[in-house]
Symmetry: C2
Subunit: 404 residues, 2 copies
């Protein structure tokens, strides 16, 4: 679901801005802000990496201290401010404090995010001297939202945005989101930077629970390279500006809200995979017939992170043996003699025995932009999907010289 931005589809009561403060050597946009005109319910999931960036530490503290009522997100790209010691923590804190002054709120109402290279001191003065202009530039416009979505990018080749809406109590609720990420993508509770804002009214605790549910089926089911970032943050703000009543757990409105959030998050997650460093196509690994959803997800995730699987797809090689071998080392018990595999709709393995298929037809189908792989274990009724991209020589080129 690609979202065409327009003023009408933006949630009310949010303003956005993005500018170039000089952190990216190219001079591209690298500093952005999201703010809500009134305190919004906020929920977020963060990286599970033990090595966490200073802004993640501060954002976690603020989300807790503000009891999920927040005003803004300040974000920079070009430097992750991770493994930067005490001065890195001071830089993130200074950024928050100075932003709060410009917005007239308290520091703990602000989330701070950074993305980029790890272990290089952040030139925080570049951020600080741009904050006044950034705050002044905030607009509730599609153009400003587009600037935000561009400013958070690093090795991304394009911005990623998505939107959804639904009706509740005769009010239309809008939701838009943006995300960045093309490398170091292998989620563990959160991934990358992603922001979703909505004018629904919903309590912080219910928002957090709903976000966790949705995240486990969207952002937590993608992998580009198996590496989890130190800076992952997925945050949702809901400011109630649509004027509809508060969403209650288990209601029809809650189901509609969760479906909208899942649509937005899945769209953003798949856009990230499609823009994976050097990627040509999205591979969807579906495991069916497992005993539990966790088992299905573990197998799907193991296949999705196999270098041999990902390189085979770079060449359109219908090498289903690598899919089978990766499933076999996943740590989940199953009977290989009962397994079926389909690649791009073509049956290649049935009950553990190989089938004849037309290699040329298969290879052509594997060169599509979206390639579905189905592994059926015939052991139960649970299933899971995981999305990854092919691994190309271009991926290596990008990553062999990221810093130099």
């Amino acid at each position: 679901m690609k979202h065409a931005l327009s003023e009408a589809s933006l949630p009310r009561g949010f303003r956005f801005a993005g500018l170039a403060c000089g952190l990216k050597k190219t001079g591209a946009l690298d500093l952005a802000i999201i703010s809500s005109d009134v305190p919004a319910s906020a929920a977020a999931v963060f990286t599970q990496n033990l090595v966490v960036a200073a802004p993640v530490t501060i954002s976690k503290e603020h989300l807790r201290a503000s009891k999920g009522r927040m005003r803004a997100v300040i974000v920079n790209a070009g430097n992750a401010n991770c493994a930067t010691g005490a001065s890195g923590h001071a830089a993130a804190w200074k950024t928050v404090a100075e932003t709060a002054k410009r917005l007239g709120c308290t520091p703990r109402e602000i989330l701070v995010c950074s993305t980029g290279v790890i272990g290089v001191p952040l030139a925080v003065e570049k951020i600080l001297r741009s904050l006044t202009k950034l705050a002044r530039n905030r607009r509730p416009s599609a153009r400003s939202f587009a600037e935000l979505s561009l400013a958070i990018c690093t090795t991304d080749t394009r911005p990623k945005t998505a939107g959804a809406s639904f009706k509740m109590a005769r009010k239309r609720i809008h939701m838009v989101g943006c995300a960045k990420g093309a490398g170091m993508i292998h989620p563990n509770l959160a991934t990358t930077l992603a922001f979703v804002v909505t004018d629904a009214a919903i309590a912080p605790a219910l928002l957090q629970k709903t976000l966790g549910d949705v995240c486990s089926r969207t952002f937590n089911c993608i992998s580009i390279d198996g590496d989890s970032s130190t800076n992952d943050t997925l945050a949702v703000f809901a400011n109630g500006a649509a004027g509809a009543p508060a969403i209650r757990a288990g209601s029809a409105a809650h189901r509609a809200f969760r479906a909208a959030l899942e649509d937005v998050c899945r769209s953003l997650a798949l856009q990230i995979v499609a823009d994976g460093e050097g990627a040509q196509r999205v591979i969807e690994i579906e495991v069916r017939g497992a005993k539990t959803e966790a088992a299905a997800r573990r197998i799907a995730g193991t296949v999705a992170t196999s270098l041999l699987v990902k390189t085979a797809f770079a060449g359109g090689d219908p090498n289903w043996g690598r899919v089978f071998a990766a499933a076999g080392r996943s740590g989940v018990a199953f009977d290989p003699a009962r397994a079926d595999i389909k690649m791009a709709g073509i049956p290649v393995l049935r009950r553990g025995s190989p089938l004849n298929f037309n290699e040329r037809v298969a290879s052509n189908r594997l060169l599509a932009e979206h390639v579905p792989i189905v592994l059926d274990l015939h052991a139960g009724s649970a299933s899971a999907r995981y999305w990854t991209c092919d691994l190309t020589a271009e991926y290596v080129r990008i990553n062999a010289s990221y810093r130099t």
Copy 2:
């Protein structure tokens, strides 16, 4: 330790042969045999992948049924005979039965190994019609051993051999080994195909235990691409032909034997990493100051399998932040604020804070053939080493078109 082969360094009482039976499209050597003139003590470790090739299933049965007294290994390259259904099992069985006839022993005294593409029916008739010639060609010569070491190769660019010797009861004991593997290398109890033969006398049970010990510090500490093969087999034969008394557990001779076996296995394991598909260099990840050896090995293994780490090394990029980030997602608890990192001898992180270093000097040192990385957690006294190779565009080229 590269082993220079000579007749004098071969263990007594073993014969070898290799020939081309037509499984490799290139016409290269692809069928080989090792035989002991008398029944030898045998020990082996096999892949832990749930999807196992037919020859692995049969070899496991034979090792058990023969109570570790065996005569020969028959091995082919060019086809893994894995996921080939009932006909694949029949093909492996037929190969063993026909080999036993030529050698005048029972089928259960023979190990069978296959390596190559998965899921393609094995053209077993090519093997069967070459067995008489193969058996007749067996020689106790360095040249025959070299043919064996070549015939087991697949995407390897060179054969891998190693040797060691020690004295016991005034007899010199010899040991030689060969291995293959350049892709789908990420061990889990065993890896790849590797064979070691020695003229020491040692009981099968002690040989098996010693092999397990040695394997955990050698073959189980290497990774090329994170994928474990379906066909991994590491087998050791000890035929006692040197005339020395049987080695007893805990004796000085046992320590000498274990040291020799570890020398041979480490040499073969490092030769595999150095010949990793597309690899330019070996990266040695050493984790020090961990609470347990298992924790150290888990962190080292996570760093060694990180795509971002491996691609950075392809470009000689001193991107230590990726090493730190990979350690952080390993699942082992440690305090990042106490960690030190050295890359190629250059301190880059001390107590969690980055150090200034000369990028040009660092980059030059990272372009060496063997690059040591040391991560010290300052949390205990355990350590572990893990070896991997850089990930290059050439790796992708090889694997995007392996079957086609």
